[in-house]
Amino acid sequence: MHDDPTPLPTNVPTTVPASPTAVTTSPDARPPMIVAERLVKHFGDAVAVDGVDLEVYKGEIFGFLGPNGAGKTTTIRLLTGLLTPTSGRALVGGHDVALAPIAARATMAYLPDTPYLYEKLTGREFIHFVAGLYRVTPEHAARRLDELLPLFDLADRADDLIEGYSHGMRQKTLMVAALVHDPEVMFLDEPTIGLDPRSARLMRDILRRLADNGTTVFFSTHILEIAERMCDRIAIIHRGRIVAQGTMAELRQIARQNETLEDIFLEVTGGAAVAELAQVLA
């Protein structure tokens, strides 16, 4: 299911922090790092997320799929504490995101789909700023930058203002900023959008290496091929509800033995009609 990771410096994920208070454990005794319990979010009359239940375990790469407007980004924003749920609760690293937000946020990193950054800061200044927010000492941050900037091919442009960066460079800058504080849990919303093939491959390899070293990775994507090749488990959300969840093998069983993730996705999200329409138009 996974790509062979590109050889990376061994110090990319430097620490595997001790596990926080475990709620339950997976069959192989790994504690859940992300838990969603009946998460609901209303925006006025519209229901964006409708009773989402999830458990993602330590060291897992969890793919979160769904059509446009299905509730992926809202769910991620609820799990990261950027939105307050209408009901239900979210736990990250064993901490209730609503009751202990600071402790929960200290364990995680979040990369949004649109990398809005401070245009008039340099990449290096931005990363030091984020390091400060996460209470990483300037010395440690500088050491991590020396490791990470060349890895992401940013070393030459790190002292330019971000206003001159391309979308991909911004995404990579955010990734470096996210890794500076060695998060236990990473939330990524469409992380490979706008990245060139080399950077997208690098991103995938880094996420796999991070997961192998104990970091929990939760990401949403539209690219089913990436999800199929990278993820340990996948959840598909449709109209705010989880309509399928499990490993690829489990999903194949749910979706009547369909082989590819695309077929499964279309099956559970009612996209078969769209596929037929596309065939007619072709």
Binding site: T80, L82, R105, K120, A158, D160, L161
Partner: protein, 602 residues
């Protein structure tokens, strides 16, 4: 079915230059109309209020122009002498058109969000250029023309001109903006080939504000000049500055010729102006295809040029970045997250010149008061010599002026503290930063510059006063005399009053800004909503009235009123009310800001 021959799913844009231009301009007007008609209610009310204010100003200008023309005719007994009013008005319109033409052409041609879409579409680039220019310039130029039209109508009424004048007037005002618009567009197209458009926009904004303020400053300090110039001398000066090479002058001569039914003269002057306008606009349109697109391409490759300059700019020194989150100085008492947010904001604010443009106008008011202190020192009873009993009062006045100016500048940082984050607020929301630390950081972003600025202004104002006092002494304004006239105790107390008042104002600003943030801003002007602007004035007024009165009054009248033991009671009451009230205001406001900050983005 999509793409089936013979079926048009989407209306195609026309291919000819004129039809494409009309199509694009119509789309632009549709957007404007939708913005007006379907915009928020408060925005519609604001437009109506602005329109009402403009109509009122137009009426005033009609009356002023009528009265001025009639007055000149009565004074000189030569009706043709009053035609200087028409010439001056058209010259003013021309100058305004130049200013607006450049800035609007820059915004319309290079800074619009839809340029990528338009330039990639199968529409003539020349049509995009022309439609953008017309669509961008039209609203501003229309307003300028109305500003010019109304006083010229007043002038015509006073002179008793007939329909020939009014017909020619409309023609003149239609021809006049073409030259400045073309020149502005040429300049923009030429400069953008060398300077990135966004940077140019910031620089132009700064220059326009600086120019406006310089004019206001000179006008405000020219009492003696005003009294020395008679109306007759003013008329002579205006006559002298009528340039025979200006299109405004040609049009004013054509206008006067038309008013006097001199058809040949009118045709000659209007023809000359129209010819120059055509010479300005036609070649521009002809070459715009290549020049405009070339400039646009260069703007997009500006990043590459920046890269080539690597290491030369001040922020391109890696060591500086490390200091961003390192506590030092006053900030050593705060958490690393607070330090990082404060340093980040204090780096970002001066790097965006649009922020600096907003700082200029309050600073110019400070310069105005300093010049006033130097030229017209405050004395009671027309005395020429310094009056020591006035010193505390003047020091407290300096404190009020300094805190007022510093608050005008830094309260914006408070009100827009959260809006300033805009779409990047997720970074602070997702970080493990307690809200109280975030609020304290945003408070410090405004308060630390306030302390420095108010302290500097108090020192400058008091030094100016001390210089005026020393100059009035027989020994003259030596350094020693100036230093002697400065009272360190008064200076210190004045700064203390500023510091207390500033804390309250900043906390109120922050609470208002957190309660009504505008996270989708594109420029600093859009960050503050009108209701917050009004409410802030009321709250600042109420708070500063209490704080300043209680803290400054005991000191201000300390050498003027003999109160005996009552003086101590006055001091004690003032300090308790001033400091205690401010502590309450700060605590309540920061608490409110923290609770409101939690709701931002929901």
């Amino acid at each position: 079915m999509i793409g089936t021959p013979g079926r048009t799913v989407v209306r195609q844009p026309p291919s000819s230059f004129l039809a494409a231009t009309r199509w694009l301009v119509a789309a632009r007007w549709r957007i404007l109309w939708n913005t007006l008609r379907r915009g928020a209610r408060w925005r519609q009310v604001t437009y109506l209020v602005v329109a009402g204010a403009l109509a009122f100003l137009a009426l005033v200008s009609l009356f002023v122009s009528y009265a001025t023309t009639a007055w000149i005719v009565r004074l000189t007994e030569r009706p043709e002498a009053a035609d200087v009013v028409a010439a001056s008005t058209l010259a003013g319109v021309l100058m305004l058109s130049f200013l607006v033409g450049f800035t609007v052409a820059l915004a319309a041609l290079y800074l619009s969000a839809d340029l990528d879409l338009l330039l990639a579409s199968p529409v003539s680039r020349r049509a995009v250029f022309f439609a953008k220019l017309v669509g961008g310039l039209a609203p501003g130029q229309a307003m300028i023309l109305v500003i010019g039209l109304v006083p010229l109508i007043g002038h015509g009424l006073a002179q008793g001109y007939d329909a020939w004048y009014y017909g020619a007037l409309v023609l003149a005002l239609l021809v006049l903006p073409i030259v400045p618009a073309s020149v502005g567009a040429v300049l923009v197209v030429w400069i953008v080939r060398r300077v990135p458009a966004h940077r140019l926009g910031e620089i132009v904004g700064l220059i326009v504000v600086a120019m406006t303020l310089s004019i206001a400053l000179v006008a405000g300090n020219s009492r003696q000049l005003q009294s020395a110039v008679s109306l007759r001398e003013l008329l002579e000066t205006l006559e002298r500055v009528r340039s025979p090479y200006s299109p405004a002058e040609w049009l004013s001569r054509g206008l006067v010729a038309a008013a006097r039914h001199d058809a040949a003269g009118a045709l000659g002057w209007f023809g000359l102006a129209a010819l120059v306008a055509a010479v300005a606009i036609v070649p521009l349109i002809m070459v715009s295809d290549r020049l405009y697109y070339d400039g646009w391409i260069r703007m997009h490759s500006a990043n590459l040029r920046k890269q080539l300059r690597g290491g030369m700019l001040p922020w391109q020194r890696p060591g500086r970045a490390e200091r961003l989150a390192r506590p030092s100085g006053v900030l050593r008492w705060f958490s690393p997250a607070t330090v990082a947010i404060v340093r980040k904001d204090l780096l970002l604010i001066p790097r965006d010149l649009t922020n600096m443009a907003q700082v200029l106008s309050p600073l110019s008011i400070g310069a105005f008061f300093i010049i006033q202190q130097l030229l017209y020192p405050v004395r009671i009873g027309g005395s020429d010599i310094p009056q020591p009993f006035l010193q505390p009062l003047l020091a407290m006045l300096s404190a009020m002026i300094a805190s007022g100016i510093a608050a005008m500048i830094t309260s914006r940082f408070g009100i827009t503290g959260f809006s300033f984050e805009g779409r990047r607020y997720w970074l602070l929301q997702a970080a493990p930063v307690p809200r109280r630390e975030l609020v304290v950081a945003k408070f410090l972003v405004g308060y630390l510059p306030f302390l420095a600025l108010s302290g500097g202004l108090v020192l400058l104002l008091e030094t100016a006063r001390a210089f005026s006092d020393a100059r009035a002494l027989p020994s003259g304004a030596s350094l020693g005399a100036v230093l002697t006239a400065l009272d360190p105790l008064l200076l210190g107390y004045a700064w203390f009053v500023c510091a207390i008042v500033g804390a309250g104002v900043m906390a109120i600003s922050l609470a208002l800004g957190a309660a009504r943030p505008n996270m989708r801003w594109d420029s600093p002007h859009e960050m503050m909503t009108p209701d917050v602007g009004c409410l802030s004035l009321v709250l600042y007024g109420a708070y500063t009235a209490v704080a300043v009165l209680s803290l400054a009054m005991p000191m201000a009248f300390s050498r003027m009123v003999v109160l005996g033991d009552g003086r101590l009671i006055l001091w004690a009451a003032g300090l308790v009310i001033g400091i205690g009230g401010t502590a309450l205001v700060v605590a309540a406001s920061l608490r409110l800001a923290a609770s409101e900050a939690a709701l931002i983005g929901e």
